[in-house]
Symmetry: C2
Subunit: 368 residues, 2 copies
Amino acid sequence: MSLAPAHRLDVALGERSYPIHIGPGLTARGDLIREHLAGRQVMIVTNTVVAPLYLDALKASLGEGLDIREVILDDGEQTKHMASIGLIWDALLEAGFNRRCTLIALGGGVIGDMTGFAAACYQRGAAFIQVPTTLLSQVDSSVGGKTGVNHPRGKNMLGAFWQPRLVLIDTASLKTLPQRELSAGMAEVIKYGLLWDESFLSWLEDNMTALMALDETLLGEAIRRSCAIKADVVAQDETEQGVRALLNLGHTFGHAIETDQGYGVWLHGEAVGTGMLMAAELSARMGWLSSADVERVSHIIAKAGLPLAAPEDMGVEDFLKHMQLDKKNVDGRLRLILLERIGRAVITEEAPAGVLADMLEHWPRSSR
Amino acid sequence: MSLAPAHRLDVALGERSYPIHIGPGLTARGDLIREHLAGRQVMIVTNTVVAPLYLDALKASLGEGLDIREVILDDGEQTKHMASIGLIWDALLEAGFNRRCTLIALGGGVIGDMTGFAAACYQRGAAFIQVPTTLLSQVDSSVGGKTGVNHPRGKNMLGAFWQPRLVLIDTASLKTLPQRELSAGMAEVIKYGLLWDESFLSWLEDNMTALMALDETLLGEAIRRSCAIKADVVAQDETEQGVRALLNLGHTFGHAIETDQGYGVWLHGEAVGTGMLMAAELSARMGWLSSADVERVSHIIAKAGLPLAAPEDMGVEDFLKHMQLDKKNVDGRLRLILLERIGRAVITEEAPAGVLADMLEHWPRSSR
């Protein structure tokens, strides 16, 4: 193949470092994948939506001499539980695959998170490669090694830090992505601007209309800048002892919505979109953001087609109950990611319970 | 408390380093544990046999100000599966415990392996502490961070490398250990001499009768020397890319026996005892050991009360089928740990299939 990747980034993690390739048509670049395989045993994990679109092309591009098997799971966040991990493990053992096999995640964030977790715990750690096919997984979940599944009591409660050996982002796969999922992914893109880089946020404000219309060059640039910020943060703090927690902007509120409504009812990115606006509003009530800042956040979230209101049937207590189980909390104290200013997030335990409860009580609600 | 630990060793793994304390009465030394807790949330995982003996004493020694919960699982290798891990996770989530909680494994190797695995995957990694109560877990499984559970298709197929923060070995707990489990643990003690240190093997030959009669001073010394060898090997090769594989001497044959017979029918140490003798015999057929060497191995294994014969109903094909799935294999090629000489193990793919099959065919069988 003669297609060159348009961008290459590296996640600097010592002996666990790996490249991210970003460009159109990279699913056809099996050569980029082959050099990262641990051995000749390969298990592709995908789902019923992605398989008909890309599975054959990926297998063909991997070439000869490999023992390639596949697991095709159902689609959606509601499949992200231990039973699906069990199906992957069963397939690996049925194939007689050993520790030097390689798992390839072909799909969105759910497939990537589950494949990574299955790899992390297969014979105490097998290699895995991310081929993310949704905007959300391309800019967020495929990079950084967070893997896991949900538990009925909380999102991503079970999992491991397990880095991929390669992230291969084919931007052409966004052409087949439903608009709702494009919006969901854009929430995480906006997140990087809000928490880390005000100039990126301005760039997104200028280009959001073209991005939502799938301008390929601009999308490639948005993905590159998002991955660069994520790679930078992860290299500084792989296992979230400090700065990496900032990437959870909007996620404490968002996870509460997802868990409360039932996994898959709200897309993860949709919940994060609303959650970021809630974080901005709480930041304003702490005196850190101006009303104009909050307006700015609200405007770009709406422009990306994301919901602003919380679910109609979710009371203050529903929010607080789920937020109490957040992984960032220490000894039961609630920790939140808020905005000190646009482009600078902070982790804090300072938000007074009364201010939080008042904000939650007065937040607009709507049905979806 | 005024009891001082009789021995202290350190496992040198950079920021994952941790101490091993060995001595009589250490279950009462909650102060040694408290300094290694991640926060005030503590989950003790134990089983129905160990709980009545040591759980109250351990809880009392931990002192005030902690939120201590417990999970009491059934006893035995047949409980070492994902469903038990699910019970631990459920208990953690029901308690509302966050990522800064600490799991304490109070029990033998099964409890330690499961607690470590549950901790490794709880919210992507919680702290854990090993308080091993059997000889086998004290000299082997509590040190080194191998955690996991069995799958119907193979032993320890699912798991993670996850280091404890502390290993606290109370040698007084061996007084309540059934003789059969003492023998099983002694198999791993003998293993260290065979694979690493001929002088330790000679010492064991001189003292085996007294050790099996529970001489406290000698047992403490045997545990210290075993842990020192293990800590040394693990520090050189945490994730078994090389030298650590040598610790699997006898395990490829042993795991085949355990898997074939059904988990818990043979104790792990019993299967390893027989497996080490099989490895010695195959080493002799490769021309590496003399008949006198094999006789020496056979003699000390018998003296420790371990079985020499393989299960009556296990054919050559049964062995090969299970051995094919061994985690050490690469791309389907069988790798074995054999003895170049007494005190020096090697990893090899060189054993000819015919020689292996002939050895397996002529190996003595008996019912248990």
